[in-house]
Structures are given as C-alpha cells and as structure tokens.
C-alpha cells in the first residue's frame, strides 16, 4: 500500500469538474450501498453460522473498498482482492457471480489513477484471482465430465471480461485526465508567458523613455541653464557675449522642443516605419503565428486566417490585439473544452476585426465557474482585461455564442486610436 508513486487522488477525478457536488458524492459513496444491501439480505435470510459471518464481513469490506476507491485506489483494489480470495474458503458457489463484481470498480479506479504499465499487471492479477476462485468454487479440473470445458471457459471468460472492461474504462479516464492536465498546464504556461512579456515590454519602454528624456535634458536643458547663467554673469561687463549666450539659450530651447516633440510622437505611437516593423515583429500581431503554434502544441486545433495589411495598424492597436488574441485562446484552452478554434484577423477600411471562435461548451456552461454574479470574470480578470484594452483603443468587444456553438469573441477596433480632444503638441506650431 505504501507505493511511493501512488498519489492520493485529490478530487474524485473521473467525474468532470463542473458536475454538481451531490452527484459527485453519490458516485463516490453510492456504490457501497449494493454490497451493504446484499449483506442485509443475507442477515435476514440465512441462519447464523460461518457462512453468514463471511457474507457480512465480505459485504462490509466490499462497501469500504468501494467507498475509498477514488481516494486510495490501490488500497481499495487490494481489499477487493482479499474479499474475492476469501470466497474460496466457505462452500458458497452461489456467491461467485457476486464476487465477480467486487473488484470491477476498484480496478477501474486504479487504472484511472495509474499509468498503463502499472495498471495492466493489476488487471491481470485481478483476472487470475477471479479465475482461481472460479476454479475452486466450480470444481474445474476436478473431473473429466463434459461440463468441465464449459466451466473452464466460464471460469476464464467471465473474469477476463470483467477485468478487461474495468481496465478499459479506467484507462480511458486516465488518458483523458492526462490530456486535460496537459491542456491546463499549457494554458497556465501561456498565461505566465503573456504576463512576463508585457512586464518586459513595459520595462523596456520605460528604460527607453528614461534614456531619451535624459538625453534631451542633458543635451539641451543643461546648456540652457548654463548659458542663461553666463548671460547673467557678463550682462554688464560684456553685453555682446551676454547676447550671444541668450541666442544660444533660444536656439537650444528650440532644439529641445523639437526633440521632445519627436519623443512624444514616438510615445503616442507615431514612430517611423522601421521601428514600427520591429515592434510588430516583437510584440504585435506578427507573433500571432507563433502564438497559434503554441496553442496547437497544447492539443487545440487552431486555424489562423489573416486578411488585409497588418502594417496599417497603429502600434498600440497592434500590440493590444495580440494580447487579446492570446487571452482569448488561453480562455479557450482553460475553460471551453473545445477541440477546434479559429482566429481571424481582418483589416478593412479604417478598422480591424479580430474574431476568436471555438467549438467548446459555450459561455453558459462556464459562467459560474469563478463568480456566479459576474460572468465577465470567467477566467479571472481575463475578459474584463480584454474589454479594458479594447475600450482604451476606442473599440468594442462582443462575447457570445459562436455560429457553430461554442464561444465567439469579436473585437472591432479603429486602426489608430482617435486623437485627443486637446490640441496635440505634435500638431504644427503655426
């Protein structure tokens, strides 16, 4: 029982995550009722004796094994084997068909918890134990009658079928759980990656702004201060030099304004071609293909469709849309239980549309997963965050059922954010 690799199954895993609690409890403890019922019938119908004692003990032990099978599958399975083996001793061939059923659920639970290389031997052991008991109670090999062959066939076929069926059920659950674990892990990884990326982008941007500010100040403002001081210092003794100093202040001030203007333009996202292309490749929709690859690697079949000229997008729009796509796909991975998704980007006129569709369970099914009062908060801050991003850009985000079921996230954003109502410092001075 002290198997180092066997982890207690924290949640009654074969049941899907969003199953109601009462159903989970019923599935966990309900099966124990059957052996208890059989024990009760035995108590009422049989005379006291060894056989009755065995019936009662076997009933209770089986009930326990069933009750603990999801949490401690190995213990449950072992207990079920003990019950089956104990059936050899008393003369009760009538109990064999019941005994046949005892290890079915524990074996299924074990196969769900263990990898195949370890659950297959358990299934074979189950089969052998059942066959052994069958041979004892039905007297296989005891004589040479015609019934022997039939008995032999039954003795092997029934345990074989029971064990194989139980194992198959468990194994398929095991595979499915590993698959969904992998999906979840992938989704979490994507989330972390996204957070790290935006943090990095913000830090880089901050450093760049600080450096440029520093340059502007050190090159121009310092000169202005020093030259103005100089003008003051020689005002009376050398008016000509003072005047030159003042002109230097004026000239330097102009150049500082020019530089600040360029800088502000860059910050407002009106930077030049080359910088734009570079940024797109690093943080913008240029990375959409890469993102889709990641999601495909997580097992979701994603189709990507881009139409129109992405280079027309303003930088803020570009970067934000990648984040929104990332968020939407992460949500699909985490919540939708979809097998297929589509990402479509279309640039047309002065707007860009981003659609992320999936064929999963849809919004209604995932709505109360996090906060029953606010479906927007599905997936934590995800959708709220997407909405904010889009709103900042002057666009809209619509969330609803997709054309073919599942969920559709639809974002419509102007190619460039509308200019501020206040006169922009980037506007020509005259």
């Amino acid at each position: 029982m002290a198997d180092p690799v066997t982890r207690p199954v924290a949640e009654p895993a074969p049941v899907a995550l969003d199953t109601p609690r009462w159903l989970v409890s019923l599935w966990t403890y309900g099966p124990s009722a059957l052996p208890l019922l059989i024990g009760a019938i035995a108590l009422l119908s049989m005379a006291p004796g060894d056989s009755l004692t065995w019936w009662l003990m076997a009933a209770v032990a089986t009930a326990v094994a069933l009750a603990i099978r999801l949490r401690w599958p190995f213990a449950a399975w072992t207990l079920s084997q003990v019950v089956v083996l104990s059936g050899v001793v008393p003369d009760n061939s009538g109990a064999y068909l019941l005994l046949l059923m005892v290890p079915v659920l524990p074996l299924a639970a074990l196969s769900a918890a263990w990898p195949a290389r370890r659950s297959v031997p358990a299934a074979i052991a189950t089969m052998l134990v059942l066959a052994l008991v069958a041979q004892q109670v039905s007297g296989v090999g005891g004589g040479g009658t015609d019934r022997t062959a039939i008995n032999l066939a039954l003795a092997l076929a029934l345990p074989g079928m029971a064990s194989i069926a139980a194992w198959l059920v468990g194994y398929s659950l095991h595979t499915r759980r590993r698959y969904s674990d992998a999906l979840l892990e992938r989704a979490l990884w994507l989330e972390r990656e996204r957070d790290a990326q935006s943090a990095r982008a913000v830090a880089e941007e901050r450093t760049r702004i600080a450096r440029e500010l520093h340059d502007v100040v050190s090159h121009n403002v310092a000169v202005m201060v020093v030259q103005a001081s100089a003008a003051d210092a020689v005002w009376e003794t050398a008016p000509d030099r003072a005047r030159n100093a003042l002109r230097a202040v004026e000239e330097t001030g102009r150049s500082a304004m020019r530089e600040l203007r360029t800088m502000l333009q860059a910050m407002r996202g009106e930077d030049d071609e080359a910088a734009g292309a570079q940024r797109r490749a690093q943080q913008g929709l240029g990375r959409l293909g890469e993102l889709v690859e990641h999601v495909r690697a997580a097992g979701l079949d994603v189709q990507l469709d881009v139409s129109g000229d992405l280079s027309r997008l303003g930088p803020a729009v570009d970067v934000s849309l990648l984040r929104v796509a990332q968020e939407a796909l992460t949500n699909v991975l985490r919540h939708a239980r979809a097998t297929h998704a589509e990402v479509r980007v279309a640039v047309a006129d002065e707007r860009v549309a981003l659609r992320v569709l999936d064929d999963g369970v849809g919004l209604a099914a995932t709505r109360d997963e996090h906060d029953p009062l606010d479906p927007e908060r599905r997936g934590g801050q995800g959708i709220l965050g997407m909405r904010e991003r889009v709103a900042v850009l002057g666009g809209t985000l619509t969330l609803g059922p997709g054309p073919a079921g599942g969920t559709a996230v639809e974002v419509l954003v102007p190619l460039r954010p509308a200019p501020d109502p206040v006169p922009s410092p980037a506007a020509p001075a005259t």
Binding site: H214, V217, S218, H219, A222, V223, V225, V226, Q227, S229, A230, A231, D232, A233, V234, T237, A238, R241, A245, A248, T252
Partner: protein
C-alpha cells in the same frame, strides 16, 4: 594668484557658458578647454590647472578614465559634472580620484565657490550628497572592516577626525566638536591624509567607507 581651471565637456555651449561664469567671477582663469577625455587628460598634463571641471559621459575616453589619468599624473584636482544622476558613474569617478562632483544646474555663485573650495582643499563639496552617494554605492566595499596597516598608524584623535571628515564636517566644525583650535584640526587632517596616502578630503572619505572605518549610516550628521 588666480585659480587655473580646465574645462572638459563634449558640448561646446556648456564649456563657453562655464567659461563666462567663471571668468566673470574674478580670481579664476580658464586656461583651456577640451571636448573629450583623452584630450582633456593631455591638456591637464600640459597646463597643470588647479581644478578640472570634467563631464562624465563622453565619447571614447569618458570622464572616469580621464580622471584616473589626471590624478595619476597629479595634474590637477578633478570635479566631475553630472546632469542629474548621482549614480555609480559619479561614484566610480570619486573612486578614480575625483575631488568632488557638481550638478550642471548648480547656481553660478555656488559653482564659483565650489571651484575655490576644491582648489583650497579644506572642505568637502556638498558633504551631505557625498555622504549619501558613498553610503549607497560604497556599501558593498565596506562589507568587512579591513585592518589596514594605515588604520593602525592613526592615533585615536586622528581616527576621530577621520570619522568626522567622513560625516561631512568642515575643519571649523570639527574644531568646535572636539574643542580644539582650527589650526590643530588642520594639522590632524593633514596627518590623516598623509598617513592614508590620499590627496584630499573626498579621497579620505572614500577611503574611510571602503575600509570600514565608517559604516554606512553609522556617522550621523550632527
């Protein structure tokens, strides 16, 4: 005798501005200008100024390297000019032997005063800021108090004087604190400088921090 100053900065307008301010003050003569570290160090060797005003960030040879060369050649006391960063560059310049630093927006009167102070060598430039700079960037170096032979050579009184210098105090303040005459304090200070093998007060302070004589935060400003 006029104080001879050399200006090293890659911006011509800054040099001409500083020149006007310094020359208008009287008693200060700008003996030369240079627009990068290498020519600055060379000019210092040739002209032997009293004070070099040195920009830190310049092309090939920066202010730190130029400071190192000038100090090695004993070709003048270096005051480092910085726009607004009290950062590791300034600290590095002090370690390279600079006698102090100035912000470029220092008022003309203070600039002139600073040049005179450094030429005189009795006081620390911007004691408070110097102390903070050393506390911030000198902490790693002051990890273990080294029992340098020079420390042992100092008398108790001299060690006390060193601590007060590191606290940013002028000779006059030290005299008041220790109840001595200023002349006696001057003798102690020059003994300390000689025994430590440093050329001025700033270098004595750097030395004190780096050798653990003063721990960051230990010597409060009184």
């Amino acid at each position: 005798m006029a104080i001879r100053v050399l200006l090293v900065d890659d911006q011509a307008l800054l040099r001409s501005g500083f020149r006007m301010i310094l020359e208008a003050a009287g008693g200060i003569e700008v003996v030369g200008e240079a627009d990068d570290g290498a020519t600055g160090a060379e000019a210092a060797r040739l002209k032997r100024p009293d004070v070099v005003l040195m920009d830190i960030r310049m092309g090939d040879v920066d202010g730190i390297e130029a400071t190192r060369r000038i100090v090695a050649a004993d070709a003048g006391k270096v005051v480092v000019l910085t726009t607004f960063d009290l950062d590791e560059y300034v600290y590095a310049a002090l370690r390279a032997g600079a006698s102090g630093f100035l912000l470029k927006d220092t008022r003309p009167a203070d600039l002139v005063e600073a040049v005179r102070v450094v030429a005189g060598g009795d006081a620390l430039l911007a004691p408070r800021i110097t102390k903070r700079l050393l506390e911030r960037f000198g902490t790693d170096l002051a990890a273990a108090p080294t029992q340098d032979a020079a420390v042992a050579e100092l008398t108790d009184r001299e060690r006390e004087v060193l601590r007060l210098i590191a606290g940013g105090h002028s000779n006059l303040e030290i005299a008041e604190l220790l109840v001595l005459t200023e002349a006696t304090v001057k003798t102690h200070v020059s003994n300390v400088l000689r025994k430590l093998g440093v050329r001025d007060r700033v270098q004595a302070v750097v030395w004190a921090y780096e050798h653990g004589v003063v721990r960051p935060g230990e010597q409060g400003e009184r």
